[in-house]
């Protein structure tokens, strides 16, 4: 994975740079298409709510030896038990038969017995879930309540953490974007929505928020630096921040997705629909979308929101002048030359080398004075006794 490490290095120094900020129109357009598709799916196809919302009964028979003609057999067994309406039967993992019917209130036992007889299993091993019709109502009500409370809390946390409403707003837009796209994907593919997927959606909000926090943290760090050095415009500093956190974003997203992917594989092949699969599907889709939005939506939006602030307009002018004077250092964000960002990054390093321990060697192994590790610096602070 030398290439990824190297790529990370280049992104970090600004030697290589992906123009996230400058091409924001593309990302916006892409997301707009996604959202439009999501809305089309939502209104044209509608959401496929699970029996937890509709009410109904579900039976699971494990270790069925002969699943041939399971649909017919399940249907006749259910009819025998006297439950009207649709019967939906599926086979999961080869030996488990799952049968969904209308709510079977008092005929629950009869249905269990009939199914057990039809498929030749012990009645005791038949699992049954019965969901009354009013349950779903309270579940959906609760989910919507949870969503609203969560969004309000998240907005509050963002406002407190970032202390600027523009950051909070961009973060929130990214969150809602994630939610809409995820639900749209559910609508388009006809995935079943259960209380488990609902809690999955809410968890996505947490993840997406966290991704955004990480990127914005770096943005804030870099832009504060740019405001001091006047070498970079706000957009350039923000773009560098996104680039610098890109490898991290990719790594964390991959690592978050890997276990969920494992669940998905096991779930699809062996377990069948259930808490595990529903939750992980929602999380998988949501985390992927969340990683996209924190990079491609939140940060460009933040830059666009702040673009016209007088101090930043001034900064853009100053940095343009500095970059024109030092052609080597020009074009950090767009031109991808290493010099400018080096200067900026070195400044950062110099500013916060507070706790320099004993400098041992430099990169090529020679003894090196610690203050010289990264070029000229401010007067270092005397390290505390414990660090000496």
């Amino acid at each position: 994975m030398t290439s990824i490490a190297q790529w990370g290095n280049d992104l970090y120094t600004g030697k290589r740079s992906i123009d996230f900020i400058g091409r924001q129109k593309q990302w916006y357009a892409f997301s707009a298409v996604l959202i439009a598709l999501a809305l089309v799916g939502l209104f044209a196809r509608g959401l496929n709510f699970g029996i937890e919302f509709r009410g109904g009964s579900e039976y699971r028979l494990t270790s069925v030896t002969n699943t041939a003609g399971y649909e017919e057999r399940a249907r006749s067994a259910i009819a025998e038990a006297g439950i009207p309406g649709n019967v939906l039967a599926t086979v999961i993992g080869g030996t488990t038969v799952r049968v969904q019917t209308e709510a079977a209130n008092e005929k629950n036992e009869a249905a269990k017995a009939a199914l057990a007889k039809t498929f030749g299993v012990d009645e005791k091993t038949v699992s049954a879930s019965l969901i009354g019709p009013s349950w779903g109502e309270s579940v959906s009500q609760k989910a919507i309540q949870a969503l609203i409370v969560f969004l309000l809390l998240v907005a509050l946390v963002m406002a407190i953490y970032f202390r600027t409403w523009k950051m909070a707003l961009s973060g929130l837009v990214a969150l809602i974007h994630d939610l809409v796209v995820t639900i749209g994907i559910y609508a388009l593919f006809g995935f079943e929505i259960t209380p488990s997927s609902m809690i999955g959606f809410l968890t996505i909000l947490g993840y997406s928020l966290y991704d955004t926090v990480v990127v914005f943290d770096k943005v804030r760090e870099n832009t504060a630096e740019a405001l001091g050095s006047r070498r970079q415009s706000y957009a350039q500093a923000a773009n560098l921040a996104v680039n610098q956190t890109l490898v991290r974003s990719i790594n964390t997203t991959v690592v978050a997705l890997l276990p969920i992917f494992a669940i998905l594989v096991v779930g699809f092949t062996k377990l069948g629909p259930g808490t595990l699969l529903d939750l992980s599907l929602a999380l998988f889709v949501g985390i992927a979308v969340g990683a996209y939005s924190s990079i491609f939506i939140a940060t460009p939006l933040l830059v666009d929101l702040r673009r016209n602030e007088p101090t930043l307009v001034e900064l853009a002018k100053d940095s343009a002048r500095v970059q024109a004077k030092e052609p080597v250092a020009a074009g950090v964000g767009v031109g991808a030359a290493a010099g400018g960002s080096d200067a900026a990054a070195r400044h950062t390093a110099a500013a916060d080398l507070r706790d320099a321990g004993a400098a041992d060697t430099d990169s090529v192994g020679r003894p090196l004075h610690k203050w010289a590790a990264a070029g000229p610096r401010n007067q270092p602070k005397r390290p505390p006794r414990s660090k000496r």
Partner: protein
């Protein structure tokens, strides 16, 4: 500044963690050996197999909402039913202020489940025959009424052997005159709250009862003609200590009922229903007020009836007071869910609708009774919201597959971090192992102390948390790498990287914890486990990063392998393109222009 002294602080932290872990597992061992604990986390019903029902109490009045007190009462009612059915280890909890969740391990039959969720009703019935709750040859033979109208033969049903029972519980079953009996506690007695009972209301009902022969038509609800031979046989055979003993009896308001007391100490044949819960206006408890308005030491339950109820209750007490001589038939039973919660004898005709029950109450038992009466005034039925029967085989299969998924996920993460961070990835592996062990221990301990059960949703939460936990390490390692790229030596890079990563990790975990708490509060019951384990693992993640990962990396930074930036350490400055190409001031007036080795390798 020798190496050991520099790594002393991180070493101490690692030892602390080790001590904490040992303490955790020693605690689990102690609970498993000496207490009710076990070595593995308690499993939820969906993994262990069992039945879970969610019931919503519904009042007869469709517009009335169930209050918190009523919900608690409903929970108690359900708990009592579950107990009386002999269901072991059932858990009954209320949920989100409107539902009752009943979790029963194993697979109870349909009849038991029906018993548990039938509507609750408070009814008043006159006592016809009473006897000890457990059939005893001597008592049962004498107590079996043959349908003949000889009421006097019924009252001394409780002969000598009965006195072996708890005197408080059996207090009303004394054969002597209870009010004057010196050695027996005073039985509950219904007296008019108005100290002057209306005189002249005594009717001749007593005489009519005694006069009524074995004809099929009982003259009034206290008439022993209600006791048919079949009923008598049921009564004789009834053993209140058997679980579900009264399940088969039909609670028909127009017919007599054979049943037990909730204490199981007594069994009764009761007359038809004369009043029900809706006739009660209010019930309170407290110390009885004496003649001069001062509280006495006698604890009473005050009962007030509605207008309609007052009239009915007046008529009943008039009749029962007339039966004063008969210590059994003078009693009036309060029946909740077919079980007699109290059966006081009538000491006065109460025509003002203000009754008072006194007897061997403590202030707590009086309050409990008053509550039962008050909430019993609102007949509740239970709407079945969900019911899940999970067979143990399905549960086991689900758990096994869940764990398999977790293992695969863990291996994938380990492989990825080894590829990405080389041997530094081993720190990730070690940290994940520590986190997994801690999670296992904490969940086990919580299962013992707070009855936390691991459900499928919980398992999902744990698996998802692998990503969250590994995420912290990535934040940390990337920060260290950033610092190395800046050209710092590894030891300083670790310190500087940590101080920056700490902030991000704290923010990230705060967000996750917040999410977990909100989800836990707002989520439906069956997915709560997800939020719970997510929250717990987030806290464990924090602990592991602070107490294990960082100290370990700090120590490793002093080793030659990592500190020297070995190509396989994942912290090789050259591979990370450490910033060296610029001319630097190297001190003492020297400037250094390094060779562009890193560029060459790029």
């Amino acid at each position: 500044m020798s190496a050991p002294s520099r790594t002393r602080a991180p070493r101490r932290v690692l030892w602390t963690l080790l001590v904490l872990l040992i303490a955790l597992f020693a605690g689990i061992g102690a609970t498993a050996k000496f207490g009710s604990g076990q070595w593995s986390p308690k499993l939820g019903l969906d993994l262990e197999g069992g039945t879970q029902m969610v019931l919503e109490p519904v009042l007869a009045d469709p517009n009335a909402a169930v209050s918190a007190g009523q919900l608690e009462k409903a929970r108690d009612i359900i708990a009592q039913r579950v107990d009386s059915n002999g269901v072991a280890e059932a858990e009954i909890t209320t949920q989100s202020g409107r539902n009752i969740v009943i979790s029963i391990p194993g697979q109870p039959d349909a009849k038991t489940l029906d018993q548990i969720r039938k509507p609750s009703q408070l009814r008043f019935r006159a006592v016809l025959v009473a006897s000890s709750g457990v059939p005893q040859s001597a008592a049962t033979t004498t107590s079996s009424p043959t349908g003949s109208a000889s009421p006097t033969s019924q009252s001394p049903v409780t002969s000598a052997p009965i006195f072996t029972m708890d005197p408080v519980a059996t207090a009303p079953v004394t054969s002597g005159a209870p009010a004057t009996s010196a050695n027996a506690p005073i039985p509950p007695a219904l007296t008019g709250a108005d100290p002057t009972p209306t005189p002249g209301a005594t009717t001749t009902s007593a005489s009519t009862t005694t006069a009524s022969p074995t004809t099929a038509q009982p003259a009034n609800p206290s008439d022993l003609a209600w006791v048919t031979p079949e009923l008598a046989k049921e009564f004789t055979d009834l053993n209140c200590s058997t679980a579900g003993a009264i399940n088969d009896f039909v609670d028909d308001p127009a017919k007599p009922l054979v049943t037990c007391a909730t204490t199981k100490a007594e069994k009764y044949i009761l007359g038809p229903v004369e009043l029900d819960g809706t006739d009660i206006a209010d019930a309170t408890s407290g110390y009885q007020t004496g003649q001069n308005g001062q509280p006495t030491s006698v604890v009473e339950v005050r009962l007030s009836f509605t207008g309609d109820g007052t009239a009915k209750f007046g008529a009943v007490t008039t009749r029962l007071f007339g039966l004063k001589a008969d210590q059994t038939r003078n009693r009036f039973a309060v029946v909740l869910d077919k079980q007699v919660i109290t059966a006081p004898s009538t000491n006065a005709v109460i025509s003002n609708g203000q009754a008072s029950i006194t007897g061997s109450f403590t202030i707590d038992s009086a309050r409990a009774l008053a509550q039962q009466l008050k909430f019993g005034a609102l007949p509740m039925s239970f709407k079945l919201q969900t019911q899940d029967d999970i067979s143990p085989t399905l549960g086991k299969e689900q758990l096994a597959l869940g764990l398999l998924a977790g293992l695969i996920g863990l291996l994938l993460v380990v492989a990825y971090s080894l590829v990405q961070y080389r041997l530094l990835g081993l720190v990730t592996v070690a940290s994940l192992v520590v986190a997994a062990v801690t999670t296992y221990g904490v969940l086990t301990l919580l299962g013992w102390s707070h009855n936390v059960r691991l459900t499928m949703a919980g398992v999902t939460g744990v698996i998802v948390a692998i990503g969250v936990t590994a995420d912290s390490f990535i934040v940390y390692f990337e920060r260290i790498r950033d610092e190395v790229r800046e050209g710092r030596p590894l030891v300083t890079a670790v310190d500087a990287g940590w101080s920056r990563a700490k902030r991000t990790i704290l923010a990230a975990d705060a967000v996750n914890l917040l999410a977990a708490i909100v989800l836990y509060v707002l989520a439906a019951s069956n997915v709560r486990g997800f939020a719970f384990t997510l929250g717990v693992t987030t806290l464990i993640d924090l602990a592991v990063v602070f107490l294990f990962t960082h100290p370990l990396v700090a120590i490793l930074a002093h080793t030659k392998f990592f500190g020297g930036g070995h190509p396989w350490s994942g912290l090789d400055p050259e591979r990370l393109g450490a910033k060296t190409p610029q001319t630097r001031y190297a001190g003492r007036g020297r400037f250094v222009t390094p060779t562009l080795t890193s560029e060459g390798k790029a």
